[in-house]
C-alpha cells in the first residue's frame, strides 16, 4: 500500500484518531518549552535589548505562514491531478491557520519594528510581501466559502492557489525592485549552514519553530477531521432531502 491510502477519508479518520492526541501533546510541550525558554531564560541582546525575545514568535510564525501556503499548493496539485478529497480538504483546513500565522508574523513584526526602526510599519519588501500573502489567504478562504458545490470549490481554489503562488513569487521580486528594505537578513540560513544568531538564542528558537510546525499540523488535522465530518453531514442531509 502506498501513501495514497491515507487520502481515503475513512482511512484518514482512523489514522488521525489515535495520532492526534499524541501530536497535540507533543505540540503543546514544544511550543511551551520554546516560548518559556525564550521568554524567561535567554539573555537580552546587546543591541536590541529584550525585544529579541519577540524572535521566538516572529520567526516561527513567518516560517509557518509560508509553509502553510506551500502545503496548500502541494495538496491543491494532488487534488487537481489525483482527485483525492482529503487532499482538497487539507488545503481548506490549512488556509485559516496560515492566515493567523501571517497575522501573527505581521503584528509581532510591527511591534518589534517600532523600537528598532522607529516605525510600526514600513513598506519594506518583506513586510509588503507578507501583506500580499495575507490578501491571498483572504481571497482563498473567501472563494472556498462562496462556492456552494464542494468539489467545484475545491477545483477553483486549487487553480487560484496555483496562480496565486506564481504571482506571490512575482510580487516578492517586484517589491524588492521597488523598495530596498530595512529588514535584516534571514536569521536561520539553513542553506548556507551559517548562523547570524548565537546558540543562546538559536536553540530555543529551533524548539519554538518545531513547536509551531507541530501546532500547525495538529490544527490542520483537527480541522480536516471537521471538514470530513461536514462533508458527510452534507451528503447525509442531501440524501434525506432526496428521500422525502
Amino acid at each position: 500500500m502506498s501513501i495514497w491510502k491515507y487520502a481515503n477519508p475513512t482511512q484518514f479518520m482512523r489514522t488521525t484518531r489515535w495520532l492526534l492526541p499524541w501530536l497535540s501533546a507533543l505540540a503543546i510541550l514544544s511550543v511551551g518549552t520554546g516560548l518559556i525558554w525564550g521568554f524567561f531564560f535567554t539573555p537580552d541582546d546587546f543591541r536590541q535589548g529584550s525585544t529579541v525575545k519577540i524572535i521566538y514568535l516572529h520567526v516561527p510564525s513567518a516560517l509557518m505562514a509560508i509553509n502553510a501556503w506551500l502545503m496548500m499548493l502541494v495538496t491543491s496539485l494532488i487534488w487537481l491531478i489525483r482527485r483525492h478529497h482529503v487532499s482538497a480538504l487539507l488545503a481548506r483546513a490549512a488556509a485559516p491557520v496560515g492566515l493567523v500565522m501571517t497575522l501573527i508574523a505581521l503584528i509581532t513584526g510591527g511591534i518589534w519594528g517600532q523600537p528598532m526602526w522607529g516605525t510600526y510599519w514600513a513598506w519594506d519588501p518583506r513586510l509588503t510581501s507578507f501583506l500580499i500573502l495575507f490578501l491571498f489567504y483572504l481571497g482563498y478562504i473567501a472563494l472556498w466559502q462562496a462556492v456552494e458545490t464542494q468539489d467545484t470549490a475545491a477545483d477553483l481554489t486549487s487553480v487560484l492557489c496555483l496562480v496565486g503562488s506564481v504571482f506571490a513569487l512575482l510580487s516578492r521580486y517586484a517589491v524588492n525592485f521597488w523598495n530596498q528594505g530595512l529588514h535584516q537578513g534571514t536569521s536561520v540560513p539553513v542553506a548556507t549552514g551559517g548562523r547570524t544568531v548565537s546558540d543562546v538564542f538559536f536553540v530555543p528558537l529551533l524548539i519554538s519553530m518545531a513547536g509551531f510546525g507541530l501546532m500547525f499540523v495538529v490544527l490542520v488535522l483537527l480541522r480536516t477531521r471537521t471538514e470530513i465530518r461536514a462533508r458527510r453531514l452534507q451528503a447525509l442531509l442531501a440524501r434525506e432531502r432526496a428521500a422525502s
Partner: protein, 55 residues
C-alpha cells in the same frame, strides 16, 4: 517572576499577549466547530438509522 525587560517591556509583553491570544482563538474556534459539526453529524446519523433507506 517576569524577567526584567527594561524599556521594551511593553513591546515584548504585547507581542506575546497578542500572539498567544490569536493562537488561543484559533484553537478554540477549531475545537468549537469540531464539536458542533460532530454533534450535527451524530444527529443526522441517528436519523438515518431510524428511517432506513427508502430507496
Amino acid at each position: 517572576m517576569i524577567p526584567d525587560l527594561g524599556k521594551y517591556q511593553g513591546a515584548v509583553l504585547s507581542a506575546y499577549a497578542i500572539s498567544l491570544l490569536l493562537i488561543t482563538v484559533t484553537v478554540a474556534l477549531s475545537l468549537w466547530r469540531a464539536r458542533v459539526v460532530k454533534q450535527q453529524l451524530n444527529d443526522a446519523e441517528a436519523r438515518a438509522k431510524q428511517a432506513p433507506d427508502t430507496h
